[in-house]
């Protein structure tokens, strides 16, 4: 529950007003509909089975136009991350320090998703650490998939 406390402290209603909100189109609507239902769904090719994110009209691997959206586990590892310490991003000034996270989802090597890691000490966000999905509702009602650290796998 500790991550929820951090959220409350860092994310005031005022700081949210200039935050970018998605312009949803036909291609991306299934993703955001999934988020509204608190599910992470990712596009997958019906031809070769490869996962694709961000969504595309045809599969970048086999060029099949037959793409569908499927639920994923929400588990992954930290592929890359940035600890934003200076108030340089408009709408996020009050949140610093916060962790911009690139998760490699467990379903496929190289399947990357951008998010935030919610953690008391941002420097705990080390490359390779396992994370899992959670959801956060911003003051304006926007639901954002986020991630939290999970226990390191036993050796």
């Amino acid at each position: 529950m500790s991550h929820l406390r951090v959220l409350k402290k860092n994310m005031t209603p005022d700081s949210g007003s200039l935050r970018p909100r998605p312009v949803i189109n036909d291609l991306t609507k299934p993703f955001w509909d999934g988020i509204a239902d608190r599910k992470l769904i990712i596009q997958r090719c019906n031809g070769c089975g490869v996962f694709v994110h961000p969504p595309r009209h045809e599969c970048p691997a086999c060029r099949s136009p037959s793409m569908t959206f499927v639920s994923v586990s929400g588990r992954g590892i930290i592929h890359a991350r940035s600890i934003v310490e200076a108030p340089v991003v408009i709408g996020f000034e009050e949140d610093v320090p916060y962790v911009c996270l690139v998760v490699e989802l467990a379903e496929q090597k190289g399947l990357l998703l951008a998010s935030n890691l919610i953690v008391a000490d941002p420097y705990e966000a080390r490359i390779g650490r396992p994370v899992e999905l959670a959801f956060h509702t911003d003051p304006d009602g926007f639901i954002r998939p986020i991630f939290v650290l999970t226990e390191e796998a036993a050796p």
Binding site: L18, A80, V84, V88, I90, Y98, C100, L112, A114
Partner: protein, 392 residues
């Protein structure tokens, strides 16, 4: 079929005043740099019959850039210099000064022009760099901007975090390179940080923007312009300066996979394609290079180029770059003019012009003993980064 090696020469180079903020307009600074470069070559203004440029504004947040103020494009220069004899004009959409140099080299080889002028000018308007008000995130940005990624430094810190995590590199490992770069810039009158070296402690305590990138890991936005004049090697023989021959060139750094974010793996794969094309074009390998001028818009970039071009094995450049081997007196000097981190954010002109001055033995207190063949790299792997091999 091979690239026409050694058939085109850089014959004149110059910078305008390069400072954090100038009280002269970018147009005035660009005219200063262009006239100085033409004079440096021993040519007259009316000799110039080709121009090439990459005009993008220093800040992408400039909505409607004004030519001569926010940018300095081909319209401004043709009119400011009244280039009546012009036969060839090129304005590239992407890249750095190297992408426009490659175009000029091709035009000279094709005989489309005889004396080409190339410049890259950048203006640093008031206010904080890189702050973008983006209430709406469309296209792929809808998958990054709502989480607070919308800043250049945040984006570019991601591949560095991956490199560090993968290979164990630290900011302590970076410090010697940063300090040496600024020591080199301190000896360079063209540099924004001329006469301003820094200490290891200053680097280690620098204000963090998006960890692992501190303010001293980012090149400083400046007002300034670098300019170069090129012609055929044959014509170059009779000019004022010793010609610097183009042995190879390329501008092609583009990812093959859609990039949601700056991904380290794709960054490296793309850098290797640039390296392969550079060596193919020049017929050389890393073993023939005597000086390196490597793009360091962000401090960790040289690690990637050193590995992609074969100077180090993957994951080992961070150990090598801190060694004295890469100082002005070393066996393989790197960024002798101070690079972009020391000279200012001028998109490749610091690298190219320093390589030329070294080969011509005009680098003063920074002069290296053996400048014969230079590898110059500018730009990044996802915005048409490129490279030149230059020689005596």
């Amino acid at each position: 079929l091979t690239f026409a090696r050694g058939k085109v020469a850089i014959v004149g180079v110059a910078f305008s005043e390069v400072v954090k903020r100038s009280n002269r307009s970018l147009g005035q600074l660009a005219v200063e740099a262009c006239l100085k470069a033409i004079d440096d070559a021993g040519l007259r203004l009316e000799d110039i019959d080709g121009i090439a440029n990459y005009p993008a504004p220093s800040r992408i947040s400039v909505a409607n850039p004004v030519d001569g103020i926010d940018i300095v494009g081909v319209h401004y220069i043709v009119q400011a210099l009244t280039l009546e004899k012009l036969r060839w004009v090129c304005s590239v959409m992407n890249g750095t000064v190297v992408a426009s140099l490659v175009e000029a080299i091709h035009a000279l080889l094709a005989g489309t022009c005889t004396y080409a002028l190339v410049w890259r000018g950048m203006h640093n308007p008031p206010g904080q760099f890189g702050r973008l008000a983006q209430p709406l995130a469309s296209g792929d940005a809808q998958f990054t901007a709502p989480w607070g990624f919308a800043h250049n430094v945040v984006d570019y810190s991601l591949p560095y975090s991956r490199y560090m995590g993968k290979y164990g590199a630290t900011r302590e490992d970076m410090a010697p390179f940063i300090v040496r770069n600024r020591a080199n810039a301190a000896k360079n009158p063209n540099a924004a940080f001329f006469g301003q070296p820094i200490t290891r402690e200053e680097y280690m305590n620098a204000r963090m923007i998006a960890e692992p990138l501190s303010i001293l890991d980012c090149d400083m936005p400046v007002d300034g312009c670098g300019a170069l004049v090129l012609t055929t090697a044959e014509r170059a023989r009779d000019l004022k300066q010793k010609p610097v021959l183009v042995q190879g060139c390329t501008a092609l750094g583009l990812p093959l996979q859609p990039q949601l974010l700056m991904d380290f793996d794709e960054f490296m794969a793309s850098a290797k394609r640039v390296a392969r094309a550079t060596w193919q074009s020049s017929g050389m390998s890393h073993q023939e290079i005597a000086q390196l001028q490597l793009y360091d818009g962000f401090s960790y970039f040289p690690y990637l180029w050193l590995e992609a071009f074969g100077f180090y094995k993957e994951g080992e450049a961070y150990l090598g770059l801190k060694e004295d081997n890469h100082s002005i007196c070393g066996r393989l000097p790197v960024n002798t003019g101070g690079g972009a981190l020391g000279m200012g954010r001028l998109h490749g002109t610091p690298q190219v012009i320093e390589a030329v001055l070294q080969i011509q033995r005009r680098a003063g207190p920074r002069q290296v003993a053996k400048p014969s063949v230079a590898l110059v790299h500018a730009g990044d792997s996802v915005h048409i980064g490129g490279a030149l091999v230059l020689s005596e």
